[in-house]
Symmetry: C2
Subunit: 402 residues, 2 copies
C-alpha cells in the first residue's frame, strides 16, 4: 500500500474512533446500530471501533435495551470514571489544581500559594502541585491540562509570555511531559474558561460563544462552531490590552489606556484608593488608610450602596460594555458570557455592561445578542484545562450538545 494512502487510512481510523466515542459519550445509553445510524458509518466499522474502545475501557456495555422488532440491542456508555484528568489553574497569587472525571466532577482538589514566586520558583511549585495531585489518582490518568495567563502557544505547548510569572518562551508542556510521562496541554486561562463554560456549563445546543473573563486581568475565550478559536498567534480574545481611553494610565503591558487599566479588579481598587480621600461621606473613606483599601472593601461598600463604590464599578462596567459592543460587531457571536472576580458585583454591573454594549453596537446585532453571567461558580479554569485535555486527547466534548 502507498505510504500516503496508509497515512490517510490511519487518520480515517482515528477520526472514526473519535466520532464513535463522541457519539457514545454524548448520547449514551446507545446501541451499536444507533451509533451507525447517527454517524453514517457502516455497522462493521462501528463494531470494530467499539471493540477497541471496550478493550481500552473507554466504553462499557450496560446491558440489553428494548427491542424494536428483532434482537434486543446491547447498550453502550462511556463510564464517567473511565479516565481521570488533571486540570491546573495558574492564578496570579496561587496555583489551583484538581483531579476530575470525564463529566467534569471534581474528585480531589489542591491549592498552593505562589507567595510572589515567579520564574523557575513558580515552576517548581507547579511541579510540586502536580506530584501531589498525581499521588491521589486511582484511575487511569489521561493527562494534564493547564490554564495560565499570558500568550500561550497551545499547539507547541509553549508559554510565549506570561508577565506576572516572568515566563518567556517557556516550553512548559514538553518539560512536564518529560517529567510525568503524560500528555500535557496548555492554554491561556481565558481560553480555558471558555472551554469550561462550553463543555460543562450546560448551554445546550449553543455552538458559539464568547466568554469574557474579568478579574485582575481581562481576556476573552472564543468558541466558534464548537471549537476553541485561538487566532494565528494564539492571541484571540486578547481584549484587555486594547486601548479604550486616553487616560494615560500605565498598564503592566507597557502601554497606556488599556481596558485593564479601567475595568479590572486591580483598576477599581486603584481608583478607590485615589478617590476615597476626597469622599468623606464614602464607606471607603473609613478604611484605615486609603492605600490599604482592598477589593473586599470595595465589594462590601458596593453591597452597602455606597455612592463612590457604585460610581467606580459602574464606570468600569461602562468601559467594559463598550469593548463588548465592539466584540458584538466584530464576531457577531450571539452568546456572550461574563466570568471572573468582577462578576461579584452582579446585576448592577451586568446591567451597565449591557446598556453600553447595546448602545455601542449596531442595534440589529445587539438585539439578538445575550450577555449573561457564567454558570460555573468555581474551578472555572481548572475545569477548562481538563476540557482542553479531553478535547485534544479524546476528541470528546459535551459542548454544543456533543
Amino acid at each position: 500500500m502507498h505510504v500516503f494512502q496508509k497515512a490517510t487510512n490511519q487518520r480515517t481510523r482515528a477520526i472514526n474512533e473519535q466520532l464513535v466515542l463522541r457519539t457514545i459519550y454524548g448520547r449514551a445509553p446507545i446501541s451499536r446500530a444507533e451509533v451507525a445510524r447517527v454517524t453514517g458509518l457502516t455497522r462493521t466499522t462501528v463494531s470494530d471501533v467499539v471493540d477497541q474502545l471496550l478493550g481500552s475501557g473507554l466504553v462499557e456495555e450496560l446491558g440489553l435495551g428494548r427491542s424494536t422488532g428483532g434482537k434486543a440491542p446491547m447498550l453502550l456508555q462511556v463510564p464517567d470514571d473511565a479516565r481521570h484528568l488533571i486540570g491546573i489553574d495558574v492564578g496570579d497569587s496561587q496555583l489551583s489544581g484538581a483531579v476530575v472525571n470525564l463529566r467534569g466532577e471534581v474528585c480531589e482538589r489542591l491549592e498552593l500559594p505562589l507567595d510572589g514566586r515567579n520564574g523557575e520558583q513558580a515552576l517548581s511549585r507547579l511541579e510540586a502541585l502536580l506530584d501531589g495531585l498525581i499521588a491521589t489518582v486511582e484511575r487511569p490518568l489521561l493527562g494534564i491540562g493547564i490554564g495560565t495567563p499570558g500568550l500561550i502557544d497551545t499547539s507547541a505547548g509553549i508559554v510565549r509570555w506570561a508577565v506576572n510569572l516572568d515566563w518567556r518562551e517557556l516550553p512548559l508542556a514538553e518539560r512536564l511531559q518529560q517529567r510525568h510521562q503524560l500528555p500535557v496541554h496548555i492554554a491561556n486561562d481565558s481560553h480555558a474558561a471558555a472551554l469550561a463554560e462550553f463543555t460543562f456549563g450546560g448551554h445546550g445546543q449553543m455552538r458559539s460563544m464568547l466568554v469574557v473573563k474579568v478579574g485582575r486581568g481581562i481576556g476573552a475565550g472564543v468558541v466558534l462552531n464548537g471549537a476553541l478559536y485561538q487566532g494565528d498567534g494564539f492571541g484571540a480574545g486578547e481584549i484587555g490590552h486594547s486601548s479604550v481611553a486616553d487616560n494615560h494610565r500605565p498598564c503592566r503591558c507597557g502601554s497606556t489606556g488599556c481596558l485593564e487599566t479601567i475595568a479590572s479588579t486591580r483598576a477599581v481598587v486603584q481608583r478607590a484608593r485615589e478617590l476615597a480621600p476626597h469622599a468623606p461621606e464614602s464607606l471607603l473613606h473609613a478604611v484605615a488608610s486609603p492605600d490599604g483599601i482592598t477589593f473586599e472593601d470595595l465589594v462590601a461598600a458596593f453591597a452597602g450602596g455606597d455612592q463612590l463604590a457604585t460610581e467606580i464599578v459602574t464606570d468600569a462596567a461602562h468601559h467594559l460594555g463598550r469593548s463588548i459592543g465592539a466584540l458584538v460587531g466584530a464576531f457577531n457571536v450571539q452568546h456572550i458570557i461574563l466570568v471572573g472576580e468582577m462578576t461579584v458585583f452582579g446585576e448592577p454591573w451586568l446591567a451597565a455592561i449591557r446598556r453600553e454594549a447595546h448602545r455601542s453596537a449596531l442595534a440589529l446585532l445587539a438585539d439578538e445578542t445575550s450577555i449573561e453571567l457564567g454558570r460555573l461558580e468555581s474551578n472555572l479554569v481548572v475545569l477548562g484545562a481538563a476540557a482542553l485535555l479531553m478535547t485534544r486527547e479524546l476528541g470528546v466534548s459535551l459542548g454544543g450538545a456533543g
Copy 2:
C-alpha cells in the same frame, strides 16, 4: 440501502467531486494519479469523478505528460471559461456588474446609476442590469453572485436590512432565482470584498485575513482558515457602527459616535465642510461654497499637502487605527488588508492607521500583524460576488493556494 446511509453516500460523492475539482483547479496540469495522491482518494474514485467532470465540461484533457517510468499520464485542467459567472456590486449610487470567468477575468462590464432610487425601483434597476449582462453571456452560466451593503443572510438569501436602499427582509436570492432560473448567492459587500482579496488577490498560502473596506460605509470581511466567517447573524466585521468616540455625531444607523461618523469618506467630507470656513489658508477654503466641497476636492487638497486636509485625513486614520487595533486583539488574524475609496489617501493614511493600531493592541500581537493595502484595484465587490458564487456552487477557490 438505508435512507440515511444513502444520503451519506450522496454527500460523500458531492464532497469527493468538490475535492477533485478543487485539486485540478488549483494544481493543473495534473494527472489522475497525482490527484489520487494529493487527495488520498482511491484511483477508481478519482477516475469516476473525473469522468463526470469531463462530461459536464468542468474539466478537460490537455494531452500526455512526461512519463515517470510507466505509461505517460493524461494531464487534466479546468478550462478558464468552462463556466461564466455574473458578479454584481450594489453600490450607494450605482449598480456595477460583470461577467467573469473561473479565474476572475472580466469578459463584460455594465453599470447603471441608481440616481437616488431605492426600494422596488432599485430592484427593477438591478433586474435590468442582470438582463443586460445575461444577454452577453456566450458560455454556460454558473449563476449570479451579489454583494450589497447591509446585513445580509447569505444562507437564506435575504437582505435583512440595507439602509441606503430601504430594503428590509427582502428575499432577494429567491426573487432573482425565480426570474432568471439560475443559482443566486448574496453577501454583504465587505464580506464579498474579503472573498475577492482571498480568492483573486494573489496572497499565496494565507489562510486567514481581515479585509477592512473603508468607503462611504465601513465594514470588514473575515476569512478564517480558508472560509468566510459571517457570525451567528451574518453581521461579523460590522465595525462601522461600533462607538469609538463621544462626539455625539449622529450616524445613519440611528446611534452616535460610530466609527463611520469619523473615518468614512462621508465623514471626512463633512468635517472639511465644517472646518474650511475657519481655515482661510487652506485650499479647501477656496472651494466656491463650503457645502460644495466634495471628496475629490479633499483628495486634491491632500495631494497638494494642504494642512487642513492632512489633519482631517490623519484624524480619520487615527480612529480607524484604534478600531483595527481592537480587531488585532479580538481575532489575532495576522493579515489585515485595507480596501475601499479611502485607500486613495495612500501611504500617509496607512502609516497613521498602522501607528495607532500598533499602539492600541498588545505589542506582541501587533508586531506579528501586517496591515497593507489591498491588491485588487477595481471590481472588488463584483469579483467577490463571483467568488462567493464559485465557492458555494463548485466548492472551488484559488485562495490559500487552493
